[in-house]
Amino acid sequence: MSEAPALETIGLGKRYGHTWGLRDCSFDIPTGRIAALVGPNGSGKSTLLRVAVGVARPTTGHVRVFGRTPEEVLHRVGYLDQERPLYRSFKVGEMLRFGEKLNPLWDAAAARLYLGELKISLGARVGNLSVGQQAQVALTICLAKRPDLLLLDEPVAALDPLARESVMQVLLRAVVQDGTTVLLSSHVIADLATVCDYLIILSASRVSLADDLAYVLASHHLLVGARDTSAPTGTEVIAATHTGRQTNLLVRVTEPIDDAGWRVEEPTLEEIVIAYLRRAEAGGESSAHQPLLPKGSEQEQASR
């Protein structure tokens, strides 16, 4: 297989009328990774995934999937839309037949096995299934396509904790067995830390961070020190909070910290993500001129 990254975006932007749903988005996801796409509602997650699969056309920039345009590699990409569109009048078995007819690499046995494990009957009408079951059917169709890249928009959103666990297991199995690259969006950060090894933070339509998760964890520190102590050299302050006589800084380090005035602690993934989101929301450097979208506006526009 070629060396091209599984997903590459170059200056990607998408405008809806006068507002940008996605802006100046450039990052790579190497093959074989499970990448988490995190950001608040309306930050452009769904837009990014729709552009990546070619359903939506970008206003600016390019997206490359395994070095090709999304249209050229449709058969290698599995895509789960945020709204889980399915033909509601179809029976589950007919939905699978639909997938089988439209995908040359379709794995019918795996699809039936997976639905069997979930106790979803092939004779049931899709419209009569619960929201969670519909999500499972939609995910099954993605997986049975045997894709090299999975783009999943909130794959666990409507699922109970047990189903959440099983979906994550299935994804891990796919990556281990087939070397599938996964990009999944979520705002439940706790789920991601155990599964993902790559992190993309999207905030106010822009990419705040896109990097290897282990590196992100290693290069961010929580510094606790006396109030109004200046930050040590070689650090970029992402977030600062002050309590009483104490200052907490979340910093990104570029060189080892050698400053006795600070106690160095390891932040959780959630703390890092929230620090970046807060900074973007407060009009931090990466989105200084970007007005905040009202919550949910991006989803509404994307679904039209």
């Binding site: 359903v55 449709l74 709204e83 939609a138």
Partner: protein, 320 residues
């Protein structure tokens, strides 16, 4: 995709087949009745010397049997368009409305291929259904028996053109569905657009699709011809030249035939030679029927192809 489209549309097609089947049976019953009345009338050889007195009652029973045939023309006029729009409007609009296009477009099939296969299934269904019904329409209007199938209301409900109307209406519905993304609106806009296109074509284009024929030396055109114009023209002219219309010379002839007003006293033939005029009928003769059918079907199929091209462009350029 063919199976999937069939699976999505089959309940609509089934309802349409049942509804039109009921109409077809009613038409067939009326047609049988009308045909037997026509046979009874024809057998009397009315209009020939020595025709019997039963002619009047036989004729009146034929006319009462055929009193619905003008309604049949209306049905024949409406049904191809309605079937085409009903099949065409939802075929893409429903997917766009429910977001299932995002499911279909992310399988391993290109968007264009998806669109063309869907449209092929719908077009085939519309065309086949109307094709199957056309013989019933044309039988019911009675045009085949009377031999005047080239005359407008009958022409529209016979031969190839109903299928062409249905294909055009189908593509119109599908295209509008892509534009407005709502089945109901696509249908609501499609009806007047289709009716306007049909009306304009029928009023201003059809008669010139095949060069019409001008005939002189006859006073009454046979009923199996579609008369476009008739009137007195200067000898040697078979169509109105500069400064005159088909009606211009009618007044001169009538002044000549009855110079004193009231009853005509001078023969028409005499006046014609006196004024150097002859009576010309411009028409599409009955033997132009298939030529005209092919030409008109061609117009609507070409319009459907243009709409197909626009639909393909619209779907390929689709921006979410």
């Amino acid at each position: 995709m063919i199976w999937a489209t069939w699976r999505m549309e089959r309940s609509l097609y089934l309802v349409a087949v049942v509804a039109l089947g009921v109409i077809a049976v009613l038409l067939a019953l009326a047609g049988l009745h009308q045909e037997s009345a026509w046979a009874a009338y024809s057998n009397l050889h009315c209009g020939e010397p020595g025709s019997t007195s039963g002619c009047m009652s036989a004729a009146s029973s034929y006319f009462s049997a055929s009193r619905f045939s003008s309604a049949g023309v209306v049905v024949g006029f409406l049904v191809p368009g309605l079937v085409g729009l009903v099949f065409g409007a939802p075929i893409i609009a429903r997917e766009l409305g429910q977001g299932t296009n995002r499911l279909a477009w992310t399988q391993s099939i290109s968007r264009t291929r998806w669109l063309l296969l869907k449209l092929a299934v719908g077009a085939l269904a519309s065309g086949a259904l109307i094709g199957a019904l056309t013989p019933v329409f044309q039988w019911w209007t009675g045009a085949v028996q009377r031999g005047d199938r080239i005359v407008p209301p009958n022409f529209d409900a016979s031969g190839l053109v109903p299928v062409a109307y249905a294909l055009f209406a189908f593509m119109l519905g599908a295209f509008l569905g892509v534009l407005v993304r709502r089945t109901g609106w696509a249908f609501a806009i499609g009806v007047p657009v289709f009716a306007a296109f049909r009306y304009l074509e029928r009023s201003f284009v059809r008669s010139a699709l095949v060069p019409p024929v001008e005939m002189s030396k006859i006073q009454v055109a046979p009923s199996n011809n579609w008369v476009l114009n008739q009137g007195y023209l200067p000898l040697g002219q078979s169509s109105p030249g500069r400064g005159i219309t088909w009606q211009t010379k009618n007044a001169s002839i009538s002044r000549c035939t009855n110079p004193g007003g009231g009853k005509a006293t001078v023969s028409v033939q005499h006046c014609e030679s006196l004024l150097k005029l002859h009576f010309v009928v411009q028409m599409q003769p009955g033997n132009h029927y298939w030529l005209l059918q092919l030409a008109e079907a061609g117009v609507f199929v070409a319009a459907a192809c243009a709409l197909l091209a626009l639909t393909v462009v619209a779907v390929r350029r689709w921006r979410t």
